[in-house]
């Protein structure tokens, strides 16, 4: 089923004329209409669509906020308050954008868990998966840059701390730092260029998302069994089956999103960011946004500046090596009794690191953060290679259809349309 030709047949003469010159309707049709999806996908697989919706939401609210925002040290805080007070529905746009960032990360973490649990990173989906890691990196950069824009205390000190991290790079660190700052410290030029980059990066994300979807189109979707598609009976067409499920799941997610916007709009932010930036006073507890906390805990677990920075970046980059570190040929953790325990341990460790990242770096917190950091890396470097070698997988169903209907049973539903079922198989 790799890169199968479009099944779109233009009906009108105009459509034929257009399609023979730019086959974009056929492209959309084969990606989002006739595209075959495994019939056993669960709700974890709706988060791709939810992420797409969140990316669009962030880009649109961001463009509208930029119509009122002023990227200068003297004007940023005032312009944000102007948006909150005087612009019609400005408070709504800002709260959508600020909480939207958090919801984007909620969705991406669920999406990433899905990939790790069901082995979506394994062959032939390595490139698809690495593109996902790149999107995640770009998201982190975008979120960090965006958080500096209100130019409150957390904005200023977040920018100071993170740019100082880059100063730890040997030899070129200082140069990179002063190029980022555009001065001798974080200031108005820094803010202005951060705004420019914050506007740019989401479109780069969009570009990589197109590649991500393209790669998905080539390899097809993984599924909860991890078994490849073997026949037409294993799949249903994207539209209407996956479409309606994605729309339903997105709507539930929007309701969750709306709760934060309207009833807890500042919960996920920091009170200190409502104090205008003051280079003379550092907030008592300086912590990043919740979605960076695990990495912040790893950074602080190391007593050495450069070591902490290296470890923190490694924690993100090691994700990209998962396809080669995992030695098991079984994809889905459903059939990997030992690995599944370790995976849940890994999730627990990530949550614990998140908690520790928010706590002051002292006493027991540091010890706990070090233990968790050790497991974080051990999970990739020891557990993934070794468990795959020694584990005995559970018996697997013969096909996706078997997993749905139970082995040996004849499928009696009217699932695939008659015409499609009769069509010659084109699976790859």
């Amino acid at each position: 089923m790799s890169a199968h030709a479009s099944t779109y047949v233009p009906k009108s003469r105009l459509a034929k004329w257009f399609e023979s010159r730019l086959p974009i309707v056929g492209l959309v049709h084969s990606s989002f209409v006739s595209y075959p999806v495994p019939r056993n996908l669960n709700y974890f697989w709706t988060f791709g669509a939810i992420l797409m919706a969140m990316l669009i939401s962030q880009i649109v609210t961001g463009i509208w906020l930029a119509m009122h925002y002023e990227p200068t040290a003297a004007g940023a805080f005032n312009s944000v308050e102007h948006i909150m007070r005087d612009v019609n529905y400005g408070w709504l746009l800002r709260y959508m954008h600020a909480n939207g960032a958090s919801m984007f990360f909620v969705a991406v973490y669920i999406h990433m868990f899905r990939a790790l649990y069901y082995g979506s990173y394994k062959a032939p989906r390595e490139i698809l998966y690495i593109l996902g890691v790149i999107i995640y990196l770009l998201m982190m950069a975008t979120a960090f840059l965006g958080y500096t824009l209100p130019w409150g205390q957390m904005s200023f000190w977040g920018a100071t701390v993170i740019t100082s991290i880059l100063g730890a790079i040997p030899v070129v660190g200082d140069t990179i730092q002063s190029l980022l700052w555009g001065g001798y410290s974080v200031g108005s030029p820094t803010l202005n260029r951060f705004f420019s980059l914050h506007y740019l990066l989401p479109f780069m994300i969009l570009g990589v998302v197109v590649l991500h979807v393209w790669a998905l189109h080539v390899t097809g979707q993984n599924n909860p069994t991890g078994i490849p598609i073997k026949s037409d009976k294993d799949t249903v067409p994207f539209t209407p089956y996956a479409t309606i499920k994605d729309v339903f799941a997105s709507m539930v997610f929007f309701a969750f999103f709306a709760y934060w916007i309207f009833y807890q709009p500042n919960y996920l932010g920091h009170a200190d960011n409502y104090i205008p930036a003051n280079p003379a006073v550092t907030p008592a507890h300086i912590v990043p946004e919740w979605y960076f906390l695990p990495f912040y805990a790893i950074l602080r677990a190391v007593p050495d500046k450069l070591g902490g920075v290296v470890l923190m970046f490694s924690a993100v980059l090691i994700l990209a090596l998962a396809p080669w570190l995992d030695t098991s040929r079984i994809r889905s953790a459903n059939y990997r009794p030992i690995y599944r325990q370790f995976l849940w341990l890994f999730v627990s460790v990530c949550v614990a690191l998140g908690y520790l990242g928010a706590m002051p770096p002292e006493g027991g917190y540091v010890i706990a953060a070090r233990l968790c950091t050790a497991y974080y890396f051990a999970h990739f470097l020891l557990v993934m290679p070794l468990v795959g070698l020694f584990e005995t997988p559970k018996p697997m169903p013969g096909s996706i259809l078997d997993s749905v209907t139970g082995p040996g049973k004849q499928f009696s539903g009217s699932g695939m349309p008659v015409g499609a079922a009769a069509a010659p198989s084109s699976k790859g």
Binding site: V60, N88, Y89, G90, P417, A420, A423, S425
Partner: protein, 191 residues
């Protein structure tokens, strides 16, 4: 591969078909309404904000320093307004024109306040495409627009195109004989 989507409407005649059709329609309508509703705050946010509206407070202009024949520029709500002190000759010219000769017929008396014919107060952007016309120029000695050659008379009325309309008169009122308040007709605030 799955070529044709299963048609969800292919089971008409089932007992619950009507109810199901209704639910499908209601869902579609809900999605459409939701989509439009989402667009509203974005459109509304582009309208003038509360600060801009509040900044459009009425503006007082003292007329005493303005010499006869002089045109003074003032700004109200960010728009240019000409305050012109007219000579007797200019007033007479403005009053004597036959309305039938005008592109946008309007009597001079309708463009100034009663008893204050000396003072012409008009918006300062050509009604063609918004350039600022030059005072005391052109055949009618009112204004001449440098961009596309529209001519206005001493009442600010268009006498030669391409401009389609007279220079509009902003809302204003005389507080005293030497002081006007732009942005408020006598007793009521401008919308």
């Amino acid at each position: 591969m799955a070529n044709t989507a299963a048609n969800p409407d292919s089971t008409h005649g089932e007992p619950d078909g009507t109810r199901r059709d209704f639910m499908f329609l209601a869902t579609g309508a809900g999605l459409a309404v939701g989509g439009v509703a989402v667009a509203w705050p974005f459109v509304a946010s582009m309208a003038p904000d509360a600060e801009t509206i509040a900044a459009g407070a009425p503006l007082e202009v003292d007329l005493t320093p303005i010499q006869e024949g002089q045109i003074v520029n003032v700004f109200w709500r960010g728009k240019l307004i000409f305050v012109r002190s007219r000579s007797e000759k200019e007033i007479k010219e403005a009053q004597d024109v036959k309305l039938s000769e005008l592109i946008d017929p309007q009597a001079d008396s309708a463009r100034v306040k009663d008893g204050h014919a000396k003072w012409l107060i008009v918006y300062g952007n050509c009604t063609h495409l918004g350039c600022v016309p030059l005072g005391h120029q052109g055949q009618y000695e009112g204004w001449s627009c440098p961009c596309h050659g529209s001519l206005y008379d001493t009442s600010g009325r268009v006498r030669r195109g391409p401009a389609p309309a007279n220079l509009p008169v902003p809302p204003y009122a005389f507080e005293t004989d030497t002081k006007i308040r732009i942005g408020e007709e006598a007793g009521k605030a401008a919308a």
